[in-house]
Symmetry: none
Subunit: 138 residues, 4 copies
Amino acid sequence: METTQTTQILTHQGALKLLTAAVAKAEEIGQPQCIVIVDASGEVLAEIRMTGAKFLSRKSALAKALTASSIGSATVNIPEEVRTLIGLATGGNVTGLPGGMPIVVDGTVLGGIGVGSGSGQQDIEVARAALAAIGAET
Amino acid sequence: METTQTTQILTHQGALKLLTAAVAKAEEIGQPQCIVIVDASGEVLAEIRMTGAKFLSRKSALAKALTASSIGSATVNIPEEVRTLIGLATGGNVTGLPGGMPIVVDGTVLGGIGVGSGSGQQDIEVARAALAAIGAET
Amino acid sequence: METTQTTQILTHQGALKLLTAAVAKAEEIGQPQCIVIVDASGEVLAEIRMTGAKFLSRKSALAKALTASSIGSATVNIPEEVRTLIGLATGGNVTGLPGGMPIVVDGTVLGGIGVGSGSGQQDIEVARAALAAIGAET
Amino acid sequence: METTQTTQILTHQGALKLLTAAVAKAEEIGQPQCIVIVDASGEVLAEIRMTGAKFLSRKSALAKALTASSIGSATVNIPEEVRTLIGLATGGNVTGLPGGMPIVVDGTVLGGIGVGSGSGQQDIEVARAALAAIGAET
C-alpha cells in the first residue's frame, strides 16, 4: 500500500447547495428542520437550524450525519439489536435514528447529512432532496 | 415589569443570507473562512467551513459569535487586560479575538456572527459584509 | 500487605507489535479496522485507524480496550442483561460489544486491545492475531 | 466552484511508517515521546505513547498535531502574542508549543504530526525524522 491515496472532498459550495435544497424541501413540506453536514472524517462542514425546529435536534442531526459518514450508509441500516450498545460505546455518536444519509458521489463517500426535527419519514425526505440537488446517490 | 416582552429573532432565511454573503466576500478576497452564527441565547443557528479554511477556526469562530451575541458588541471591545481571565472563567467562550460582531437590527441584538481563519482584518471584513447583506448594523 | 508490588507493563515495542500484527490480519481478511491499545490503568498506549475503517469505530474500539483491561477478560463476558446499565453508569466506557480482549502475559493483565469496524467475529479475529504476535493469551 | 475537489489522503501504512520512524529516532536520542498523527480534518489516524514518556504529553502532542494540520504549518509559527487567546478560544487545540509539523506531500497537507515529552528541540527532531521517512516536507 502506498503512503497516500487519491480521493474526493465536498467543497463549501457543495455544502451550501445541500443546505439550501434541504431548507427548500423542509419549507415545502412545512416542517422546520435541523440539518448538519459533516465530511468523511466527521468534521462539521455546514449546518442550519430552521425557525421553529426543535433545538435539541441539532444534536441528533449531528449524530445522524456522523453515523452515515462513518458507515457510508443510511443510519437506518444500523441493526436494531445493537443500537443501544453501539450508541453507548460511541458517546451517542452512532445512531439508528432515521434521517442520516451518506453523501456519495461517483462511488466516493464525501461525508454525511443528518436531518432532525420532523418525523423519520420527513427527515429522510429532506435529506434525499438535498442529496439530489448535488447529484449524489439518494 | 410585565411577565413577557416582545422581541425579534433571526430567521433561518436571515441566517442563510448571512452565510451566503460571508462566503461571497471571503471568495472575493481569496481567504477561506469558518463562519458561525448564533442566536441571542448562544445556540448555533448556522455555520459553514469553507474549503481550505483552518478547521480549528470553527472553534474560535464559535467563541467569537458567542462573545459578540452575549455582550451585544464586537469581540475586540473585550478589554485587553481581562481577556485571559474572562476566557478562562467562561471555558474559552469569551474571546477578544477580532472577527466577532453582534447581529443588531433596529436596535435589537438578534445574535452574533463569528468569522475565523484569516487575519483579524479579513475576519472583520467578512463579518461586516454579511451583516450589510441583511441590513444589520456594521 | 507490603507497600509496593512488582508488576509487568507493556512496552511501546510490544504495543507496536500488536498494532502491526493487527493491521496485517485486517489486511489479510480485507476488513479495515480501528485498533486501540490501553495499559492496565486505561491510558491509551497506541492506536491506528486503517484506511476505509469507520471513524466512529475509534470510539467503540477504545471502549472495548478499556473494558477488557478493566475486567481482565473479553468484552463479551459482560453479561447481556447488565450491559445497558453498566454502559450508562460508566459513560459508555464499559461495553459488551465483541472485539475487546485483555492483554495477558504470564498471568498478568498488561492492558486491553479493542478492535472495531468489522463484524464482531472479524474484530475478535484481529484482536487474537495481535495477541498471538506477542505471545499473549488468546 | 465545483461540488467536489480531488485531494490526497494519508494511508494507514503511511501513518505506521511515521510512527515507526518517530519511535526509532526517539530511541536513538534516548528521549521517550508521545506521538500523535491526525488527518486533514483533525481526526486521529495513529498514536503511540513510548515507555517512560510523560502521559500528559499525549494531550499536548494531540494539540500540536491538530494545530499543524489545521494551519498547514509548524506550530511554532503561531505568533507568540496571540497564543494564549487562540488557545483559550479553541479549547486548547491551537498551540504554539514546538513539536507540531504538517504532513505535506507533493504540496498537499495530509494532516499533522505532534510530538511531545522531550525538549522542544527533541520534539521537532523526532517529527522531522518521521516526515523524512515518508518523503514528506521537513
